[in-house]
């Protein structure tokens, strides 16, 4: 159309400016800063790869990475797993679908901070929901946020929070499967569990892959739960909280940026790896 150039420019301009200033420039600047030793905002000295060398010998960062990977494992197995099982179940029932869809989405609406506070109340040693229940049954109280169990205890709300989101994505994918497939399966006498394993799951494999990648990259951003429930103590430090401590509490912007770059690279690598591992011929219908 005539005069399109003007509109292309005009319409893209505001978004381009905002994203350049607040995403692309800061991202490049973070990479740049990762080569400097800094003290506050004003002192910085180019040190080449020294921050990266420090990174590889930083035991705390190693621990944070392992903790993040542990949560990631729970997230991929339980969050994606529960979401898939629940979606298969809701897809198979006749009444009450809308109810379960609405209710399962509840946790996503709640902020991580509010859920964390809720779990502060649930895990509290003396009066929390869990320990009250235990003592009602005459059992001993458990220290839920102790050094040995804190990470697992925090993984529970982390997993629970987003099950509903992936559940909806799976359910949407299943609703797009043409009914001929199921008709054919019925004629062949395939139903129930077999139908799910041999028909439904292969047909939504590409969606499962997307969800796993979303779950993995999402885990790298985990911050709220850890911060409010344990401040990264008791062996719960993850990459997000460690970066926050280094950059914003110690005000070590150089090393903090190095960790941020590490998080991005880690995320990209994991996404590519997952993509490779789950590579399969995609079904189109």
């Amino acid at each position: 159309m005539k005069g399109d150039k003007k509109y292309i420019f005009l319409f893209l301009f505001p978004a381009a400016v905002l994203m350049s200033i607040f995403i692309y420039y800061p991202f490049l600047k973070s990479i740049y800063l990762s080569f400097f030793r800094t003290k506050g905002f004003f002192e910085k000295k180019f040190v080449g790869f020294e921050n990266y060398k420090r990174m590889f010998s930083d035991d705390l960062l190693g621990a944070a990475t392992l903790n993040t990977l542990e949560i990631m494992l729970y997230v991929v197995i339980f969050q994606v797993g529960f979401a898939l099982v629940l979606a298969v179940m809701v897809d198979s029932i006749k009444w009450g679908k809308a109810f379960y869809r609405t209710v399962f989405f509840f946790p996503i609406v709640i902020s991580g901070a509010a859920i964390s506070l809720m779990f502060v109340l649930i895990y509290n040693y003396q009066f929390g929901l869990l320990n009250s229940a235990l003592s009602n049954f005459g059992m001993d109280k458990v220290l839920w946020l102790s050094e040995t169990s804190a990470l697992k205890a925090i993984a529970v709300p982390t997993v629970w929070h987003y099950v509903g989101f992936y559940f909806i994505l799976f359910l949407t994918a299943m609703s797009k499967i043409p009914s001929d497939f199921y008709e054919a399966a019925k004629i062949e006498g395939i139903s129930g569990f077999k139908k799910t394993v041999y028909l439904t799951i292969p047909l939504i494999m590409s969606d499962i892959k997307v969800v796993i990648i979303l779950a993995i990259t999402g885990t790298l951003k985990v911050f709220d739960f850890i911060w409010i429930l344990a401040r990264g103590q008791n062996g719960t430090e993850v990459l997000g909280t460690y970066m926050y401590k280094k950059a914003m509490i110690d005000l070590n912007f150089g090393y903090g940026s190095t960790i941020a770059v590490y998080i991005v690279v880690f995320g990209v690598l994991l996404s590519v790896l997952t993509n490779r591992l789950l590579k399969k011929e995609e079904v189109t219908y």
Binding site: F22, M89, G96, F104, I213, D224
Partner: protein
């Protein structure tokens, strides 16, 4: 023939139903158990928010049959929850509006214009989704300090708007790409220019995707603790999530107050969600982002 087919099919279904009655029950039990985990903790918190802290401690399961409002009074008087509410709403609603306007315009160009560099822009937007806040926070903080925007509303609105644009543009563009071309041609013949076409056709037709995008942008903005802690953590501009963090560290033993704070944060969003939830799925179904 078809009729017969259908009849035999329903008969078969009926038989299947009888046979799988037990497994149906099992499915409903599992689903209801999960539903219990999403409903009960919420009920537990709201219920406890109407008790004095001592009762929360001693008997958290009992129904608050004679509710007390002390926790709520404390939440508004002592920790100024009302003000944080306002801060949250001002910042999150501004973010949503800016994302919809700027994102909508950009999405329109990407979905409906043919020009060089379009694919590059598209790939760039997808790549942007992989950049977490951690990787931009330090330089953004530096910028905000330089521009004296730390602890102002704009100090959160601008980074939040920018951070949500890539997602919004991709989702809205995905929807706009499916709008039939005839509509555009008819408008062109009627003498609409590109701007009028956007406001008169694409904006109204794309309402569902704008609705669902705005829900997600709102939730992400309203619930984002990390940026709020850094950019707007002073009392006069502090949003509700940052206040919750404050409460957990300062009033960690006042269980009644904590319960009322959680209830106050969650309930309004929940009510809004129940009203607009049908858009969420619509937007997800029609403008789904796929990797």
């Amino acid at each position: 023939m078809q009729q017969v087919n259908r009849v035999t099919r329903t008969k078969k279904m009926a038989r299947l139903e009888r046979r799988f009655g037990a497994s149906d029950i099992f499915v409903y039990i599992c689903l209801s158990l999960w539903a219990l985990t999403t409903i009960y903790p919420l009920f537990w918190v709201v219920n406890n928010s109407f008790k004095v802290s001592r009762d929360v401690m001693n008997n958290s399961f009992r129904f608050a049959s004679n509710p007390v409002m002390t926790n709520y009074e404390k939440a508004f008087d002592r920790i100024n929850m009302g003000h944080s509410y306002m801060n949250s709403l001002i910042m999150s609603i501004s973010t949503v509006l800016l994302v919809l306007i700027f994102g909508g315009l950009a999405a329109y160009v990407i979905a409906r214009f043919r020009f060089r560099g379009r694919n590059v822009i598209y790939s760039l937007l997808v790549a942007t989704l992989l950049i977490p806040t951690f990787a931009t926070i330090v330089p953004v903080y530096e910028l905000l300090i330089k521009w004296k925007l730390v602890n102002t509303y704009l100090g959160l609105i601008l980074p939040h708007t920018s951070g949500n644009l890539a997602f919004a543009i991709l989702v809205i563009a995905g929807f706009m790409a499916t709008i039939p071309k005839d509509l555009e041609e008819a408008a062109f013949i009627d003498g609409c220019d590109r701007y009028k076409m956007f406001t008169k056709i694409f904006l109204p037709v794309s309402r569902p995707v704008f609705a669902s995008a705005s829900i997600f942008v709102f939730l992400w903005s309203y619930n984002d603790l990390f940026s709020s802690l850094i950019f707007v953590n002073k009392e006069n501009v502090r949003p509700i999530v940052a206040l919750l963090n404050e409460i957990s560290s300062q009033y960690g033993t006042d269980f009644g107050l904590m319960a009322s704070a959680v209830s106050l944060t969650v309930i309004p969003v929940m009510v809004v969600y129940l009203f607009i939830q049908r858009f969420i799925e619509k937007g997800l179904t029609e403008g789904a982002i796929k990797g």
